[in-house]
Symmetry: C2
Subunit: 469 residues, 2 copies
């Protein structure tokens, strides 16, 4: 019996093809480079519109992204409860992620109508989305695994396609077959022939129908979650799970797949090439975010944190994220993953974090680091506080530049306002807290023989962390 309608947001991807905008610890779905809100935040808004109730929205994500999910939801006024954030211990792929989400969200013996929403989609028209999803869920109710097919606007080679088969009802067809990213020639043929749709990656189905199909087509995933103790042994469960997408593992094999054609403006920002497609262009075909001088330059994508100047450049993508720059011709966006893997292999910090590092209490930006010192701007969100902590090797100067700070230093507790400062010597237990209603901003100057982040002893922490600062 269907007891609920739920939405499952898939927010565990790493977006390595969007480096340097995307980082291991801050992937593209949380970035706000191309819009005021992140694609995750927009997915959350769609999810709430779908279920009508935040308590029926679940987010499947990696454990490293838990605080991004919490923080970004809060930022747009949604207080997600801890139970609705389902964290995976390892990065697998969409089939395990969705199945894990359903196992967590739908109690044994119950059924639910489920909408699957990837966190990296751009869908500008919410009302159109709602209508399409409503249709999809009504078809799903009948026992279909519903995929949403976007009518192709051009012979795109970066997306998968689905071919429609026999008609089910006015707005739905059976799926005849799935085609992975085709070459240009095939993509052009699909467009000519008609009946082909882009596979959007959104789905709708009944939980028990999906479970049956997983049992049939992905028994290793089904079995991994069938022991009574899978919750307690999640790390082990995940280690055994295959890295397989829901398209490849379930949809392509199931007989129960339906297509609901979706007349939607839609993009998944899978690469910088699709970002270029998405952005507005100037009359010379340049898509620019940031301060940029273009001389004799056409059809470029430029994202600049700093001043970028192009002379006589065509069809290039220039991605500047403040601490790193990527330059690559348009059309080569798929190669960025290769570069990312190389950076990670070599242990380059720029693969892992941005200059700005997000924490459950806010964020910090390293302004400069040199022998024996580090300068940071620290932002503490309203009513949040860092852990009660101590460092063996470094002293810290705090100078408030915005907001109000509550400082614990040894036995003292006092307040600091802008232009006020304090000094915390090594070995002294301290805590920085924002008791106010606007973000607190502090310039922190660290001094010492050893100034790495791991020189930290946590005495008490709101976020139950031990190692990370």
């Amino acid at each position: 019996m269907i007891t609920r309608k739920i939405a499952l947001i898939l927010a565990g991807g790493r977006g390595t093809r969007l480096w340097p905008l995307s980082r291991e610890f801050y992937p593209k779905q949380f970035a706000k480079t191309f819009d005021k809100s992140s694609t995750f935040q927009n997915a959350l808004i769609r999810a709430v519109a779908t279920t009508g109730d935040l308590s029926n929205v679940y987010v499947v994500t990696n454990k490293d992204y838990r605080f991004h999910v919490l923080g970004q939801a809060e930022e747009i006024g949604f207080k997600l409860s801890e139970e609705n954030i389902l964290t995976e211990p390892l990065k697998r792929n969409t089939a395990p992620a969705i199945y894990f989400g359903i196992k967590c969200a739908v109690p044994e013996g119950e059924d639910a109508l489920v909408a699957i929403l990837p966190a990296d989609h751009v869908i500008p028209d919410l009302a159109k989305y709602e209508k399409v999803m409503e249709t999809g869920l009504s078809i799903a109710k009948k026992g279909y695994l519903v995929t949403f097919g976007i009518k192709p606007k051009k012979p795109e080679t970066g997306y998968g396609y689905i071919k429609t088969g026999e008609k089910i009802c006015e707005n739905a067809y059976k799926a005849e077959r799935f085609i992975e990213k085709p070459d240009l020639e095939r993509a052009e043929r699909f467009l000519r022939e008609g009946g082909y749709y882009w596979n959007s990656g959104m789905f709708a189905f009944r939980a028990c129908v999906f479970e049956e199909e997983v049992k049939k087509h992905l028994p290793e995933v089904y079995d991994a979650f069938s022991s009574e103790s899978w919750r307690e042994n999640l790390d082990e469960v995940y280690e055994k799970l295959p890295d397989i997408s829901v398209d490849y593992g379930v949809m392509e094999k199931s007989e129960k797949v339906a297509i609901v054609p979706a007349d939607l403006e839609w993009s998944d920002i899978g690469s910088f090439d699709s970002l270029y497609e998405l952005l507005k262009k100037d009359p010379d075909g340049n898509a620019v975010i940031g301060r940029c001088y273009l001389i004799d330059s056409r059809n470029n994508l430029v994202l600049g944190e700093r001043l970028v100047a192009l002379i006589g450049i065509e069809n290039l993508m220039v991605l500047d994220s403040g601490d790193a720059i990527l330059i690559c011709p348009r059309g080569k966006g798929q190669e960025v993953r290769k570069l990312f893997n190389k950076l990670k292999e070599n242990g380059e910090e720029e693969a892992i974090v941005h200059k700005t590092v997000y924490r459950p209490w806010g964020s910090y930006t390293v302004l400069e680091e040199g022998p024996g010192y580090k300068v940071k701007r620290v932002t503490v969100l309203p009513h949040k506080r860092l852990s009660l902590q101590m460092h063996y090797h470094r002293s810290e100067h705090w100078i408030v530049i915005k907001g109000m700070a509550k400082v614990t230093k040894g036995d003292e507790v006092f307040f600091l306002r802008p232009q006020e400062s304090t000094f915390v010597p090594p070995g002294v237990v301290h805590r920085l807290e924002n008791p106010g209603k606007i973000p607190l901003e502090v310039i922190e100057v660290q001094n010492g023989e050893y100034i790495e982040e791991d020189d930290i002893v946590r005495i008490e922490d709101d976020y139950k962390r031990e190692q990370e600062p």
Copy 2:
């Protein structure tokens, strides 16, 4: 009568074709991007080798660069006296600059043997240079205007050429004619035919011979300096001077020009294209300074202050100076001037200064600027001090990270060592000084409603400045 041998370094150029490495207030001849020492410092070493005595070395430069000249000379152990730095009030070109230099350095009625050394040359082999210059000066003694011709290694279109005429002696020819930057076809013909040399821009002559030729070919320059009071009215004198190069104004017209062929490795870093030629390449033809990842990329020039990654890029120049990036195909280096002028027209700060701004007492780097605050790293050179000053609108926190600071704050004078700090409220007279033997480094956090550099009242200044900080 020749009483002295002097060297005149031309260090007033702006190097606008090397933006963003070169800035209005810190041009290429002072940059240390491509070597441990700047090209000005290397020119100074050559000048001292030529004259044997620092007191016979003169530097003609713009008034804005006076402290760069002083500071960079001191850095390599040369204490230039004030009289040897000849500052031009306006930017003209090489003909006025050389004539001004000679008028200052050679008293009326005396004669001198003069070597002219541009400050932006790269000449790796000092001994070879000395030999060539010795030959040049010996020819100059006979009354010739000596040019030094570099044997062309390839059909370079970025340099001027000189054609040799009849032989004067073993190592010198009369100059038959000067050719401005030729096109490729002509340059190739010059190479085939032989007898053509690159015009190096170095010269040697007797002061009175040069003066005669200026009188003959550039009477407006000659006349400008002929009044008794030209020293007192230098601003007016310069306003009337034409913007003309010594090659075009004197050398191409004079009958007294000789060429001394110079078997030298030589470059003038006139553009990024010539910088690419100069630098070492990897087996794929990439010239790289900085941290760079290259995937399927060939024949590029990359100068990165931060991490730069290239995928599938060929024949591109990527110049990253921390606060600005220029991207331009190889061969288009001459176009950078156009861009620079556009930046300046639009009042972009990146055209004028680097993130690091040089001052007579040292330098400062803006680490971050935001509403109501600014964070700087301030470096004070040994035994130097900032002016005794006061700000109306901002407070300053100083935290020492290296060296020893002597602080004047109201009536107090005290010392600060690393990890120590002080706070200067608005309206309090203060001074920062380095009494020690190693550079002092301080993190300065400014707070206030108005934090521009012009909120400064100078009470006393070692460098007699009034406006600049």
